[in-house]
Structure formats: structure tokens, C-alpha cells
């Protein structure tokens, strides 16, 4: 046999290179961590203008089917899919029976069935799990012929609308097929930066030409480094950090993402555990954390209460360019999770003061009710 350990490249790799990207390996892909201007400039540009993110490494799973598929998917996801309108999207998770999270995802009801956007590192495993749960009764395609480009920031709507007329009519968390040069793009108004924006699914062969058009209209390429600071300021979870197989949506403080209709009746994978945790509570919960001063407390930093009692651990921590200060998220024992609780963070052997704080750190600007 021949084992291929080569890193994969997205269809925008040449474009990244031409724009002086610094690359890192991420989930088996060679991805840009930043371009020449650096993470802080890229972050700020996205907040005030429009940033382009190559997220082609993420999984685009098409599952084809009608009402039967909706019934089967409701046995898996904690969503009211029967009442989800066509072209509407929901944030959700794929769980095991213990409500441990295999992946977090965005699912959109489309004419042909469903489109699910999955994390790069989880997509193959997700595909196996979903195939098994659906029993091979529905056609499933984990796309590798399509790139996924995110355009994020307040100017994104005018930039994208000048290339794809009509996208300004989309509400946040909705999408549709749009024709572009004799082919179909699937465009959703969504993203993971806390800004208004879009994600565009496009055939690999056209991805570079399309992305160059966005650059010509004034948008700029942004790397994974700024994507991380943007999502953290927006209080959004990253799989492998805030979420993993040992955490449940209730512990992750994501109860809002579970449809109310499903909370009363259950019947989805992990529903018993979820109901138990809603009634009985959890020992730990995800919170926002602001270190005092400029100290940065990164992932795995231990969290203490005044005494030497460890009460939790940080899952993501960085410098927030729009906050102009350090920010973090982590899990703490429930009794210490109230806003403004004073905690201590152990960094390089010393303990530094910090506070539990409200999420998000940065207020969102999503567009609702355009039509």
C-alpha cells in the first residue's frame, strides 16, 4: 500500500501564495494563517470593511431526500426541521448518546434535501456516523469539487451584491442557489466572525476567478489567525477547544441552539442526557473571561478561586484586537460562573486576576428582516 501524508491544498492555494500568505497545516490542509499585513490589521479590516476567508477545508455535505429525510434527521439533530423553512439555516451539533459533541455544524434546508457545513477535522468521521445513522437510505455527498469562500464584515453586502446581484435580500441564516456564469453557487448569509457576511459554495474551477473579483471590489484576504480572534471576540465556540466529545451542548452554554419543541419531547441522539442536565444542572459551564491588564491566558491555563482551589480551565485565549485587550473562554464550576466573579489565572507559575464576563466580547451586527 501507499500512504499519502501530503497536505491537501484548496483551489485558492495559488491565490494565497500570490498574496504572500504564511501557511500552516490545519486539519491536513495547507491553509493561510495570515498575509503580509498581519493578524491585527486583518482582524480590524474585517470589522470595518470586508474580509475574504478561504474555508474550503470545511466539509460541505449534501444529503438528498424529502420528508422521510427530515424525519430521520430529527432523530439525530435537536432541531425542529419539520418547521424549518426551505433555505433557512440552523446552528447545531452531531452528538453521541451521552450528548458528547462529535462536531458543531450549520444545517440548511434546501430544495434537494439538506446541506450541512462541517468542521474540516471532523468531516470524514461525521460522514461515517451520519451514514450509519441514516442506514444508507439517502444519497450523501461530501463535496470535494466545491470551494467555500466566506466574505465577512459590514461592506460585504455591497461587494458581493455587485458580483452576485440579489444577495442583499437574504436575511441572516438563510441561503439560496444563485446563477453565476452558467453554474450554480449556493450562497448563505452567515459566518463565524460576529459580522454580517456570506458563505459562498462554488465549483473549484471557478473559485479563484470569483475570489479575485471580490478582491478587485475592495475586499481583502484574511487568514485563519484573524478568523480565530474574530470568532473569539464574538464569543463563538471552536471545535477542539470549547467543544469536544467530552462536552455537551448544555455544558457549552449552547442550550439556545436546541429547538424548544424538541426539548419537551426529546427523541434525538443524546436527548436523555440533555434533559437530565437541563433539570439537574451541570457541574461545569462555558464562560467568558477577561484577564485584568494585558496578560494573555491561553488554552489549558488553570483557573483558580482565591484559595488554591482549581475551578476550571481556559479553552481559548488571545488578544482581542477590537477589544484592545486580552480575552478568553473556558469552563468553570457552575457556582463560580456568575458574571463579575473574580478568579485567578495561573500563567507561567504566577496567578493573575481576571473576571468572569458576559459573552460576546464584541457586539454582533447581524442583518435581520431585510424582507
Amino acid at each position: 500500500m501507499r500512504i499519502n501524508m501530503e497536505t491537501k491544498k484548496t483551489s485558492l492555494n495559488n491565490l494565497h501564495q500570490r498574496n504572500q500568505a504564511k501557511f500552516v497545516e490545519f486539519a491536513g490542509y495547507e491553509m493561510p494563517i495570515q498575509y503580509s499585513k498581519g493578524i491585527i490589521e486583518e482582524h480590524k479590516f474585517t470589522r470595518k470593511h470586508s474580509g475574504i476567508f478561504d474555508v474550503s477545508h470545511m466539509g460541505q455535505l449534501f444529503i438528498y431526500g424529502g420528508e422521510n429525510l427530515t424525519i430521520e434527521l430529527e432523530k439525530i439533530f435537536p432541531l425542529d426541521l419539520k418547521n424549518l423553512k426551505q433555505n433557512s439555516s440552523k446552528y447545531s451539533f452531531l452528538m453521541n448518546e451521552e450528548a458528547g459533541i462529535y462536531d458543531d455544524l450549520i444545517i440548511t434546508k434546501i430544495e434537494e434535501g439538506y446541506l450541512i457545513i462541517l468542521n474540516a477535522a471532523c468531516k470524514e468521521n461525521d460522514f461515517q456516523i451520519l451514514s450509519k445513522l441514516l442506514g444508507g437510505n439517502f444519497k450523501m455527498i461530501l463535496e470535494n469539487e466545491r470551494a467555500l469562500v466566506a466574505l465577512q464584515g459590514p461592506r460585504s453586502v455591497e461587494i458581493l451584491n455587485s458580483v452576485l446581484s440579489g444577495v442583499e435580500k437574504l436575511n441572516f441564516m438563510t441561503g439560496k442557489w444563485i446563477d453565476f456564469k452558467n453554474q450554480r453557487l449556493f450562497v448563505t448569509r452567515s459566518g463565524y466572525t460576529g459580522e454580517d457576511g456570506f458563505e459562498i459554495s462554488i465549483l473549484n474551477n471557478f473559485a479563484e476567478e470569483f475570489t479575485q473579483k471580490l478582491i478587485d471590489k475592495g475586499a481583502q484576504l484574511i487568514g485563519l489567525g484573524a478568523r480565530d480572534t474574530l470568532r473569539l471576540e464574538a464569543g463563538l465556540c471552536l471545535y477542539g477547544h470549547e467543544l469536544d466529545i467530552n462536552k455537551t451542548p448544555i455544558e457549552a452554554n449552547l442550550k439556545w441552539a436546541i429547538s424548544k419543541e424538541r426539548l419537551s419531547n426529546g427523541g434525538f441522539v443524546g436527548s436523555e442526557k440533555i434533559m437530565n442536565q437541563i433539570q439537574g444542572g451541570t457541574s461545569q459551564i462555558r464562560v467568558g473571561i477577561k484577564p485584568e491588564g494585558r496578560l494573555i491566558a491561553r488554552e489549558k491555563t488553570k483557573i483558580f478561586k482565591e484559595t488554591d482551589k482549581q475551578i476550571g480551565e481556559i479553552t481559548s485565549g488571545t488578544f482581542g484586537p477590537s477589544i484592545n485587550g486580552p480575552i478568553a473562554m473556558g469552563y468553570v464550576d457552575k457556582e463560580f460562573s456568575k458574571i463579575d466573579t473574580k478568579i485567578l489565572l495561573e500563567v507561567r507559575g504566577k496567578k493573575y486576576p481576571a473576571n468572569i464576563c458576559e459573552l460576546p466580547f464584541y457586539k454582533k451586527n447581524y442583518v435581520k428582516g431585510v424582507n
Binding site: I33, Q34, G38, I39, I40, G225, T229, R294, L295, I296, R298, T318, F319, P321, P326, R348
Partner: protein, 126 residues
């Protein structure tokens, strides 16, 4: 202005009399990216050659700053603690880290001149 020397840990050293001013090189800041946090040694403390004498954190990661010389910390640059982005702007000038009263002149022998450092950093920057 005295001659500037360089260490393999990407610090620069400018010597005047027995006082060395130490900072991190432009090459180091380019590798680190945007610097968002700096911690310096305490004034009056004694540091040993190759020991840690501070921390810089960029948006990507934390890195220790080593002292290439032994000595007593005479002064530290509070301006870079208050605004760490100054380190990216002027790493080999106004954004110095600390000044040392050096103990042992022979420690200077292991340092590189600019030409040697540039060759070294080119070979070690992959």
C-alpha cells in the same frame, strides 16, 4: 554609538561602558507577528546568561526572552509594557527591553556581529 552584537536567541545587545542595552531583533519580530504583551525582568534583579529575562506574546504564541549576558538589571522599558505594538514598530531602537550592568566581559565573545547574525537568521528562519 557602540557596535551592536547579536545572540542566537535573536536578542541584540548594544554596549556602552559596562552597561548593555538589550532588545529583540527585527527578524524576531517578523517571525512573531503582532506583539500584544511584554513582560520584563525586575529592576535591581540579577540575571544569568541564557536565563529567561522576560516574555513576549504575539497574536500567535508566547515566547521567552533570554538574556545573552549576566548582570544586574539597571533599567527596564515601561513604554513597551504599556504599548507592546511599539516592539513591532521599532524593535532595534526605541523598543529596547532592559539595561544590564554586565558582570563578565568575556561573555561578549560568544555574540555575533550583524553580518554573522544575518547569515545565521537566514539559515534558521524556515
Amino acid at each position: 554609538m557602540s557596535e551592536v552584537k547579536f545572540s542566537k536567541e535573536h536578542e541584540w545587545i548594544s554596549l556602552e561602558g559596562d552597561v548593555a542595552t538589550i532588545g529583540i531583533t527585527k527578524h524576531a519580530t517578523e517571525m512573531l507577528g503582532d506583539i500584544v504583551f511584554a513582560e520584563l525582568p525586575e529592576k535591581g534583579s540579577n540575571v544569568e546568561k541564557d536565563g529567561t529575562a522576560g516574555v513576549v506574546e504575539s497574536t500567535k504564541a508566547a515566547s521567552d526572552v533570554y538574556t545573552p549576558l549576566s548582570g544586574e538589571v539597571m533599567d527596564t522599558n515601561q513604554a513597551i509594557v504599556d504599548d507592546p505594538s511599539k516592539i513591532n514598530e521599532d524593535p532595534e531602537g526605541s523598543a529596547w527591553f532592559f539595561k544590564l550592568k554586565i558582570k563578565d566581559n568575556s561573555e561578549l565573545d560568544s555574540l555575533m556581529n550583524r553580518e554573522e547574525y544575518e547569515k545565521f537568521s537566514k539559515e534558521n528562519s524556515s
